[in-house]
């Protein structure tokens, strides 16, 4: 594979490019310096450092936004959603201010940093806050599309920067709240977000060799979620497997299960972290192996699921 830039660099480049044309774009960070290296260099006046102080990060961002700025507030997933959770609720969401809360080191990407630095409940927390849009790019190209959409969409937004690799080979139309069908299929639907999108695609290829024709949806927007795509998946494929590098409590799986139970009863299998801390230390990929989140595990889980629902 060709050289792959880190997701935070792709994000930084996208924000910096837009900031050249829009002088209202600000970048605030609580020592999230790897997220705005280019921006700080290009626009030192519009890059605000608050130090290791997440509550102040979100409050200061809200104040800038109340004065007409489009603010990207950067730090790690675990801290921006939990340490500053009440500031997110009160100072950003309740006011309806134009702040984009951007998280890196999501899921278990913090691997050997340990449990304190894992972000496995962030989607659930952000989903539960009214006015908040929740997005997770699933590929390198999508990072830029989501940053563009964030500037166009007025209001609070949570952007979760999962570890991603290129998926899309060519440009495609991106729309907030609309899932992307990466592979059509009739036997089962894999609905994935963020880092799990590419893993779902690989799993679908492996399943096809066993005669299972899996649909794959990239659910980049978790709130507001694409109800139509979920309902169609249920009706047309009869079973849904959700995939997220996040707790199965309240994340993508929870969001999909809600739509299914409300509007189109279908079997759902949720793959992710099963209401547990990740307490294993090790490299990222080996932790994913331990928690059965790699393509071969997805294949096994999907086959077991299909057997259980007797398809």
């Amino acid at each position: 594979m060709s050289y792959q830039k880190p997701v935070t660099t792709l994000y930084d480049e996208a924000v910096t490019a837009l900031a050249r044309e829009n002088e209202n774009i600000y970048s605030v960070d609580a020592e999230g310096v790897w997220m705005n290296t280019h921006f700080r260099e290009a626009f030192p006046e519009r890059a605000i450092q608050v130090g290791i102080a997440e509550q102040n990060l979100v409050g200061v961002s809200a104040g800038l936004a109340s004065r007409g700025k489009i603010v990207f507030a950067n730090t790690m997933a675990a801290f921006i959603t939990m340490r500053a959770c009440e500031q997110v609720k009160v100072d950003v969401a309740y006011q309806g201010f134009n702040v984009k809360l951007v998280a890196s080191i999501t899921g278990v990407y913090g691997a050997y940093y340990g449990t304190t630095h894992h972000g496995l409940a962030d989607i659930a927390i952000m989903r539960a806050i009214p006015n908040m849009v929740v997005v997770v790019p699933g590929d390198s190209l999508e990072v830029k599309k989501i940053v563009n959409a964030a500037v166009e969409h007025y209001g609070p937004m949570y952007i979760r920067l999962d570890y991603v690799e290129p998926i899309y080979e060519e440009d495609y139309p991106f729309e907030l709240g609309k899932a992307v069908t990466l592979r059509d299929g009739k036997d089962v639907t894999l609905i994935a977000t963020g880092s799990m999108v590419k893993r779902a695609l690989r799993a679908a290829e492996m399943l096809s060799k066993q005669g299972i024709d899996a649909r794959v949806l990239n659910m980049h927007t978790i709130k507001p979620i694409d109800e139509k795509a979920i309902i169609e998946a249920g009706k047309e494929t009869g079973g849904i497997v959700t995939l997220e590098e996040h707790s199965v409590v309240g994340g993508l799986g929870g969001a999909v299960a809600k739509i299914v139970t409300d509007k189109a009863p279908t079997y759902v299998k949720r793959i992710g972290f099963q209401d547990t801390f990740c307490e294993i230390i090790g490299p990222y990929n080996e932790i994913l192996e331990q928690y059965k989140l790699l393509p071969p595990h997805i294949v096994d889980a999907t086959l077991g699921f299909l057997k259980r629902i007797k398809k």
Binding site: E45, R46, I48, V50, G51, A53, Q55, N56, V58, G59, V60, S61, A62, G63, L64, A65, S66, R67, G68, K69, E86, Q87, V90, D91, Y94, Q95, G96
Partner: protein, 245 residues
């Protein structure tokens, strides 16, 4: 209630003398910002906003009733309110953001944040205080309503916050301590802002909780004077406050 009364002199001075605001255009870009960070005691702010002409005073008679804009804590839905508040420890950070925006945009507006004394027990206040001096925000003013009581008891019995002047100075602020119920001192102090160039200004305003109503003055119980109070007390309170318009 007690906090609304202890800070009434300062809020009156701000809205009727100091703040550069336009009731006809509450979101005017050049306006001074005011944040009632303490949140509770919104009723005092509502009266000042009405007096300044943001809305007819009759509107606030719906206070705390079903469907009213006017709750215990102020909301952005109210013309002239710059931030919905209520949870303690939020306003100073937001004020820092507003003040940084003012500096970057080369605008001359100021940002005034009124803090409760008990509120200073929140750690987030000190994160904000540290960043205000770091960014040399001499367009930012913190006013501490030092009425000496939080909900249940005296601050110094619950969790001591003194020495306040030394604390704010050590965080890089220019500080003055005044009698916050003495209108002349309040006005003189507000007119002297910034106290020092390139430093945020802190006013430690010693006040009396429940000021103006003798049976509430200096009592923690004045924090919650939840209605309806006995008619006799209402009559006495209104008389002591100088009547009802």
């Amino acid at each position: 209630m007690g906090g609304a009364l202890s800070s009434a002199d300062m809020i009156t001075a701000l809205y009727l003398h100091v703040l550069n605001v336009d009731p006809a255009n509450p979101k005017w870009e050049e306006r001074d910002n005011f944040i009632l960070s303490r949140g509770h005691g919104g009723i005092g702010l509502y009266a000042a906003l009405a007096k300044r002409g943001f809305f007819p005073i009759e509107q606030i008679y719906s206070y705390e009733q079903l469907g009213s804009k006017f709750g215990t804590h102020p909301s952005l839905k109210i013309p002239g309110v710059d931030l919905s508040t209520g949870s303690l420890g939020h306003g100073l950070s937001v004020g820092v953001g507003m003040a940084i925006a003012g500096k970057r945009d080369r605008k001359s507006y100021k940002v005034y944040v009124l803090l409760g004394d008990g509120e200073l027990q929140e750690g987030s206040i000190w994160e904000a205080a540290m960043s205000a001096s770091f960014y040399e925000l001499d367009n930012l003013v913190a006013i501490v309503d030092r009425n000496r009581f939080q909900v249940f008891d005296a601050t110094e019995k619950m969790m001591a916050i003194e020495p306040l002047v030394d604390k704010w100075k050590s965080f890089g602020w220019a500080v003055k301590r005044i009698d916050g119920n003495d209108m002349e001192q309040v006005v003189d102090t507000l007119e002297a802002i910034p106290f020092e160039v390139k430093k945020p200004s802190a006013i430690i305003a010693d006040t009396v909780k429940g000021k103006g109503i003798s049976f509430l003055e200096g009592k923690a119980v004045s924090h919650y004077w939840e209605g309806p109070p006995p008619e006799e007390q209402v009559k006495q309170a209104l008389e002591e406050l100088g009547g009802f318009e």
